[in-house]
């Protein structure tokens, strides 16, 4: 998995490529936690993401809760068919903003 971050004031874009699974989710979680201070507009660019497992969903849920608590926004862009299917069956499509 590769993580690319771009911070512009309080707006953070994180582009992920590869797989967000049991092995890589802790790395993503750590990167995200280190970068979210002062961020109120988070975009997760998933155009390079192959798939996501429940470990990845857990990180997305905690990020969404953080942004909800600070009245910020979080959105996911570029998710492929597999990732979207997983968001659908788990009900995450109702919790997250997916563009």
């Amino acid at each position: 998995m590769e993580i690319n971050k771009n911070l512009d004031g309080s707006k953070l874009t994180v582009a992920l490529s590869g797989r967000l699974d049991t092995t890589t989710a802790p790395v993503f979680e750590k990167e995200l936690k280190e970068s979210l201070n002062g961020v109120n507009d988070l975009t997760l660019d998933f155009s390079g993401l192959e798939y996501i497992s429940s470990a990845g969903l857990r990180v997305l849920l905690s990020a969404q809760k953080l942004l909800n608590a600070s009245k910020g926004t979080m959105k996911i862009t570029g998710a492929n068919e597999i990732v979207k299917e997983i968001f659908e069956v788990t009900g995450f499509s109702d919790i997250l903003t997916i563009e």
């Binding site: 092995t23 497992s53 429940s54 009900g91 919790i95």
Partner: protein
């Protein structure tokens, strides 16, 4: 380890049930799926299910100790499918006995526990569990 129809191509691996071994498991499974010309979409769905099942076994089967997990893969015909069988000798545990998580709850009410096995059930066409001869046997099938 085929059930009702004969396996054309099969393979197996045995390794310590530890999450550090997940990349090796995924590689083993995807190499096999390539051999049987599994479409990319099905391969990704199977890989997610394998991640969830192997992670579950690694986390719960042997508590804090280290034990083995065996994985058998088989290509089936009529109808064409792949069958993945996970076997461990850990504590008896039927992951299918657990109630499905409520996927309609809001972010603040959401629980992640149980989501992995639920995803495996949704992504695969069949998931069955049995406890036999001191072993947990989880068998999943995906039609190709």
């Amino acid at each position: 380890m085929a059930d009702d129809n004969e396996a054309l191509i099969s393979d197996e691996i045995e390794l310590d049930a530890q999450t550090e071994n997940l990349p090796s498991v995924i590689e083993f499974v995807e190499t096999f799926l390539d051999r049987v010309s599994c479409p990319m979409k099905s391969m990704m769905q199977i890989s997610v299910a394998v991640d969830e099942i192997f992670t579950n076994i690694s986390s719960y089967a042997y508590h804090s100790g280290i034990g083995k997990a065996k994985i058998y893969l088989a290509q089936l015909t009529d109808p064409r499918a792949v069958q993945l069988t996970f076997i461990d000798s850990g504590v008896p545990y039927d992951p299918l006995a657990k109630e499905d998580p409520d996927v309609t709850l809001s972010a603040s009410e959401r629980q992640i526990g149980g989501l992995g096995i639920f995803m495996a059930k949704k992504l695969m066409d069949e998931v069955k569990y049995e406890y036999r001869d001191g072993k947990n046997i989880l068998r999943m099938k995906k039609y190709l």
